[in-house]
């Protein structure tokens, strides 16, 4: 009898909360996009079921955001218009953010971008930098032979940076389109170049939008393009965080990568715990720079957790991640702003490139669709990623890209995967799986906290070693047939046929330009060095060194001064190497 009454009360509370959510969250959003009705639905249980629905799941767009950041996303508001207009997105970008890319010299890449713009592919620069740039070396460095302009564009100087932006003027000027910089260790220098470029164009800094990756911790853990030791690297992060918040408040501060760690071998729980631990370290760095949490936390972004074929688990991961980050921001950092508590990421679930196979590659399309389904059921566009020919290592073919884009469209428009928000909410199974994922990640997070946080766990090599060990465990499980991968360690008999496809490789970058880029860029750099003023250069570098020695100083104004005084990327990094020292690789 008493239990029934309590149930009745809880039921009323769920009903009342639903009505409040509709009025307070959904309707304003419908008005915001000038729609008639919501493009999505959300279901609640009639009764609480003992899961603590209101506390642990709640409504999309409300704390703890388990059910999603919003009742519907921007793309959903305009999905029908996009279909009627035959909108063709560039994968890896959106209407405003261009496709991720970069090659050769800055002039090579500028010309490529101009060609793309003339074909209607107009998005802001989403720049891939070559490895020398990512590691803080100039194109003429002895360490860079054969690598200049290869996996991205070569940037040695502010002049180089400006050449790329010759493709962005007028209606595509830098106060109109956002810029993305996939760079970490020298991110501060690239942000300085962006600020100086705006100053030269007379554009106020507060109008600059975009996202520098600026996530150095995962470089130590998973990706390897570090320069300075973890401590000084975090000081550079602090300085960019304060500078962006105070001077470029529309710019995101960074993009924290869980996906890179997963690709390097991290388990799902490691991905989640390490990403959140890194996020905590970045928030602490911002606070140590004298900022208030809600001033800058809304500009911390994530690059996407995830990267496996395990459909249910990847959905649970997204739900657990949102709830955990919201809790951390609210409880640990006393954030008040809802945006400080949300995980902002371009996509949610996905299979990761690591799940694609070289054997029988067309199967990768099926795999990508499964990742897209998980994404559509966990709060983002149901994106099929990557194109099936990803592991062939030759660039994506036109066919593969078309199949990928169509797969996403079929999931949106025909299967209507994203018409219901968090469709798994309230499922006994999914709520249990979400709880389990959260508990395991919390326990790993506590371990890192006890070591002294993410920076300490990077310095002692814990995270890098744990990931290497997980990668090896996975390899053993595959070789011992404890895990099965179709066409790789099972179903490989002679009667299985390779399904053939025609592949016309999209001629992404001019091969001839790629071959000669290094030579041409070194020539450009030599000419640049001859014509600059040595005196102002020496003064700027000297001043910057003094600031680097003073841990309380913010280096950003000096870095802006250096790039404006024609210092090269390596000259700046060499001064910092002298002051900060260099990071040492983790020994296994």
């Amino acid at each position: 009898m008493k239990q029934d009454e309590a149930m009745g009360k809880k039921e009323e509370e769920i009903d009342r909360s639903y009505r409040e959510w509709e009025e307070g969250v959904v309707k304003p959003r419908i008005r915001k996009f000038d729609l008639k009705t919501s493009p999505t639905r959300f279901y609640t249980p009639r009764r609480d079921n003992g899961h603590g629905f209101l506390e642990k799941v709640g409504f999309p767009g409300q704390y703890p955001f388990t059910a999603g950041n919003q009742p519907f996303e921007y793309w959903q508001a305009f999905a029908r218009d996009a279909a009627r207009l035959g909108y063709r997105p560039d994968w890896g970008g959106s209407g405003r953010v261009g496709k991720y890319g970069g090659f050769g010299t800055p002039a090579d890449y500028r010309d490529y971008l101009l060609k793309m713009h003339s074909m209607g592919r107009k998005g802001g620069p989403n720049i891939a930098f070559d490895l020398p740039t990512q590691c803080g070396y100039d194109s003429d460095s002895q360490y860079c032979a054969g690598e200049v302009g290869r996996v991205g564009v070569a940037i040695d100087t502010l002049e180089d940076f400006g050449i790329i932006y010759e493709a962005y003027t007028g209606e595509m000027d830098i106060d109109r389109v956002p810029s993305n910089f996939t760079i970490n260790a020298p991110a501060a220098v690239i942000i300085a170049m962006y600020a100086v470029l705006a100053k030269k164009r007379g554009i106020p800094l507060e109008r600059l939008e975009g996202t520098p990756q600026n996530d150095i911790l995962k470089e130590f853990i998973a990706r390897g393009t570090y320069i300075f030791p973890p401590g000084p690297s975090m000081r550079l992060f602090r300085d960019t965080c304060v500078f962006c918040t105070r001077s470029m408040p529309s710019l995101n501060i960074n993009s924290i990568g869980g996906y890179h760690m997963r690709e390097a071998g991290a388990s799902r729980i490691q991905d989640l715990a390490f990403s959140l631990a890194n996020g905590i370290a970045y928030v602490e760095a911002g606070l140590s720079g004298g900022l208030l949490v809600d001033e800058f936390a809304p500009k911390i972004t994530f690059n996407a957790f995830g990267g496996s074929m395990e459909f249910y688990n990847e959905i649970a991961l997204q739900r657990a991640a949102r709830r955990m980050w919201a809790g951390i921001m609210k409880e640990r950092f006393s954030a008040k702003n809802k945006r400080s508590m949300q995980i902002r990421q371009p996509i949610t679930a996905h299979i990761g490139c690591i799940s694609t196979t070289l054997n029988r590659p067309l199967n990768n399309l099926v795999r990508a669709v499964i990742g897209g389904m998980a994404a559509g059921m966990s709060g983002s566009i149901p994106g099929a990623f990557p194109p099936f020919d990803e592991p062939l290592g030759l660039g994506h073919s036109q066919e593969a890209v078309q199949l990928q884009i169509d797969a996403t469209r079929i999931m949106i428009y025909e299967a209507k995967v994203a018409d219901v928000c968090d469709p798994w909410a309230g499922s006994y199974f999914m709520e249990n799986l979400t709880d389990e994922t959260e508990e395991q990640a919390l326990s790993e997070l506590r371990k890192i906290d006890n070591m002294g946080g993410a920076v300490a766990a990077v310095e002692n090599g814990y995270m890098a070693k744990a990931i290497a060990r997980s990668a090896y465990e996975r390899q053993k499980a595959i070789e011992n047939q404890e895990e099965f991968i179709v066409g790789v360690n099972s179903f490989t008999e002679e009667n299985e046929i390779e399904v053939m496809v025609n592949r016309v490789v999209e001629d992404t970058y001019d091969q001839e330009l790629l071959q000669t880029a290094e030579q041409r860029q070194i020539r450009n750099l030599k000419a640049f060095k001859r014509k600059r003023s040595q005196r102002s250069l020496a003064r700027a570098l000297r001043d910057m060194k003094a600031k680097a020695l003073d841990d309380h100083a913010n280096l950003m104004p000096s870095l802006c001064d250096c790039v404006e005084s024609s210092a090269t990327l390596q000259e700046i990094c060499d001064v910092l190497r002298e002051v900060f020292g260099e990071a040492q690789p983790v020994k296994l």
Partner: protein
């Protein structure tokens, strides 16, 4: 096993690329297969790799390359070994290698190429076969 434990292998990552999952997994795996494995860590120049191989007196070098620079980097290592009278060291390459480049790599003297989906057992098998024929 007795004899195998004396086989020394250098796993090396030439160039600036930092994706070391493959290198680390192969290093762990070959160690479990009973070989003595030395991993150089990231950002090694071909000259450093040749020097380490000679100093460590290895019989096999495994180069892990994902940056697309596999042909030029492998050639530099092979040339360096020959110049230092160490041309008998077997060089294996692992990574993202397009089919058409596999033959090219074998043409310049790489003994075998292992792409994504390869098994440690198979890598170990190739090394054992090579040691038997020495």
């Amino acid at each position: 096993m007795e004899q195998e434990s004396r086989v020394r292998i250098l796993i090396a990552k030439p160039g600036l690329d930092g994706h070391e999952r493959g290198a680390r997994v192969v290093a762990f795996g070959l160690r479990d297969e009973g070989f003595e494995v030395i991993y150089t860590g990231l950002r090694q120049t071909p000259e450093q790799i040749v020097r380490s191989a000679i100093q460590e007196d290895v019989s096999v070098i495994g180069l892990s390359i994902l940056s697309g620079a596999h042909i030029s980097l492998s050639r530099k290592v092979l040339d360096g070994l020959r110049e230092n009278n160490a041309g008998d060291i077997m060089v294996l390459v692992g990574g993202i290698i397009p089919d058409k480049d596999i033959e090219a790599l074998k043409g310049i003297g790489v003994a075998e190429v292992f792409t994504s989906g390869s098994r440690i057992k198979d890598i170990a098998g190739v090394i054992r076969q090579h040691m038997k024929s020495q």
